[in-house]
């Protein structure tokens, strides 16, 4: 059996007295898409930030390609260069054009030549239908376009793993599809992804594995078919029931 891309063992995290994650175990294989579902505040976002080392963990271990990334001898910058993360609020750099946003990290961090970085950016923008926006500033783009640029910005560092943190939650409903379409496209290309989302229909279609988080614990995980049709836990059933009642599934 091949080695998993990412392994999380017994991860715990609290902010002050509040426990945000407790004994989280998760294995993500290469080319696998894992969707994290659960109500707001259940710890999905924090889990992604822990994986990206943007948040220090209190306990446990995270392995990337079988090697621990949570020991103190590991430089977080080296780890972050291998994975991309996209946030709910896009977080594009407002003082830079689309092209500058995308090429900043490849040029300054990865030592790619400017020419090469620009060529790569053009290629990605073409692929995602944003070629004509290359010299625009972020505030001239729609939310959906900004979020697609944010995805491209992460892809430009050629990550081995992509993390998505509720990337459609801040978008108008009619813009959600274009961003979800991008993630679907990445799945078809074989990208390994962990996606925290409130879009249950999307999770059911795309995920290889769905994890239901509740109060910082992975309460249930399994194939989407299983989780969405016959969840074991009453809490999962209750959560999905509410989603169905709200007409979101």
């Amino acid at each position: 059996m091949t080695r998993p891309k990412l392994e999380i063992h017994n991860l715990s995290k609290s902010f002050d007295d509040k426990i945000v994650l407790r004994d989280v175990d998760l294995t993500v294989n290469s080319h696998e898409v894992v969707c994290l579902i659960g109500s707001s505040g259940s710890g999905k976002s924090t889990l992604l930030k822990c994986i990206n080392l943007l948040v220090d963990i209190d306990d446990g271990e995270i392995l990337l390609d079988g090697e621990s990334i949570t020991t103190s001898s590991v430089n977080p910058n080296d780890v972050r260069q291998r994975m991309g993360i996209v946030f709910q609020a896009f977080n594009l750099f407002p003082h830079m054009t689309v092209l500058e946003n995308i090429t900043l990290s490849p040029v300054k961090v990865h030592g790619v030549s400017r020419q090469e970085a620009v060529a790569r950016a053009r290629h990605l923008l073409d692929q995602f239908g944003l070629a004509e926006k290359i010299d625009e500033y972020p505030d001239r783009l729609s939310g959906g376009q900004q979020q697609r640029v944010a995805v491209i910005r992460s892809l430009a560092i050629q990550p081995e793993l992509m993390l998505f943190d509720e990337v459609t939650s801040a978008l108008d409903p009619e813009l959600v599809a274009e961003v979800l379409g991008v993630i679907r496209g990445l799945k078809n290309e074989g990208m390994t992804m962990i996606v925290a989302t409130h879009e249950m229909g999307f999770a059911r279609d795309v995920a290889d594995q769905v994890c239901f988080l509740d109060a910082g614990v992975i309460l249930e995980k399994g194939a989407p078919k299983k989780i969405f049709s016959q969840p074991d836990q009453p809490r999962t059933r209750q959560f999905l029931q509410r989603i169905v009642e709200a007409g979101r599934l």
């Binding site: 990206n52 910058n77 972050r80 260069q81 946030f87 750099f93 003082h95 900043l104 990290s105 910005r153």
Partner: protein, 281 residues
């Protein structure tokens, strides 16, 4: 686009325009009356001829003007050099202060101590201390010019304040920007340099311009060291003639620079505010 509302509400716009021109008329009228009254009270008072002779003498104005102007040119040179050094040095201070992590603690501590100490010392005291004190040491290889140390004192003092302005700007950039930059693998200093600081500077330009106005006047403080800048020249002229018109000349020269800069600051701040409003809608 901008004509839209006018087409939608032509009557309202017309009425507003009428009110606008009436408003301008009232403003002009009341201004003439108020200033006219003040001028009349001043010019008809018994003390006016004496005041005019002491402060507004045309003869002394003509005589002192070239000398004060010559000195004032030195003020402008000192101002420009000091301002460039201040803007650079204080930015470095602010960046060091916003570095995170225990490894940077000693650097942060040095900068915070510097800012606290320097802001607590009256600027005139610092100028006297350095301008007279350091040349008196007669150290080898250390400049003996009072002006050099006077300007250095200004740079040291103003940098402490300006560093705080920059810091406010750095803090005003949302945390998510830093996080986003770090997530792309940028180091702390790269994140500051390419992402945080450019946005921070844009946020504090009005406050920095305010500092310009302030420094432009404070360079005159080096006159206490005997540097023959504008105020010193005015002082010398006064000492020879016992007439204060030369001071008024110096004041006018300082105003000629500071008032336009102040107006520009207001204009810029207002434009920036409008832009942000447009952006947020």
């Amino acid at each position: 686009m901008r004509r839209g509302p006018q087409q939608l509400w032509p009557r309202r716009t017309k009425r507003r325009r009428e009110e606008g021109s009436r408003g301008a008329l009232i403003a002009a009228g009341s201004t003439i009356i108020v200033f006219g009254l003040i001028l009349w009270v001043v010019l008809t008072s018994a003390a006016w001829p004496e005041v005019q002779r002491q402060f507004f003498s045309w003869k002394h104005f003509k005589e002192s003007f070239p000398k004060v102007l010559g000195g004032f040119w030195l003020d402008i040179q000192m101002f420009i050099i000091a301002e460039i050094l201040i803007l650079t040095f204080s930015l470095v201070l602010a960046m060091i202060r916003s570095l995170r992590g225990p490894a940077f603690f000693p650097l942060r501590a040095i900068v915070i101590t510097y800012i606290d100490l320097i802001r607590g010392i009256p600027i005139l005291l610092l100028i006297l201390l350095m301008g007279f004190g350091i040349p008196a040491l007669q150290l080898q290889g250390v400049p003996k010019s009072e002006m050099f140390w006077g300007v250095t004192a200004l740079v040291i003092s103003y940098s402490a304040y300006t560093a705080e302005v920059y810091r406010a700007g750095i803090d005003s950039v949302h945390e998510s920007q830093r996080m986003s930059a770090r997530s792309l693998g940028l180091t702390q200093t790269q994140a500051l340099r390419y992402v945080i600081v450019p946005q921070a500077i844009r946020n504090v330009i009005p406050a920095l311009l305010n500092g310009f106005v302030s420094l432009q006047k404070d360079v005159a403080l080096v006159f206490v060291l005997g540097v023959r800048e504008g105020l010193r020249e005015a002082e010398i002229y006064k000492a020879g003639t016992f007439n204060y018109t030369s001071y008024v000349v110096a004041a006018m020269l300082f105003l000629a620079i500071s008032v336009p800069v102040a107006r520009f600051t207001d204009w810029y701040t207002e434009r920036d505010r409008r832009r942000r409003q447009v952006m947020s809608t």
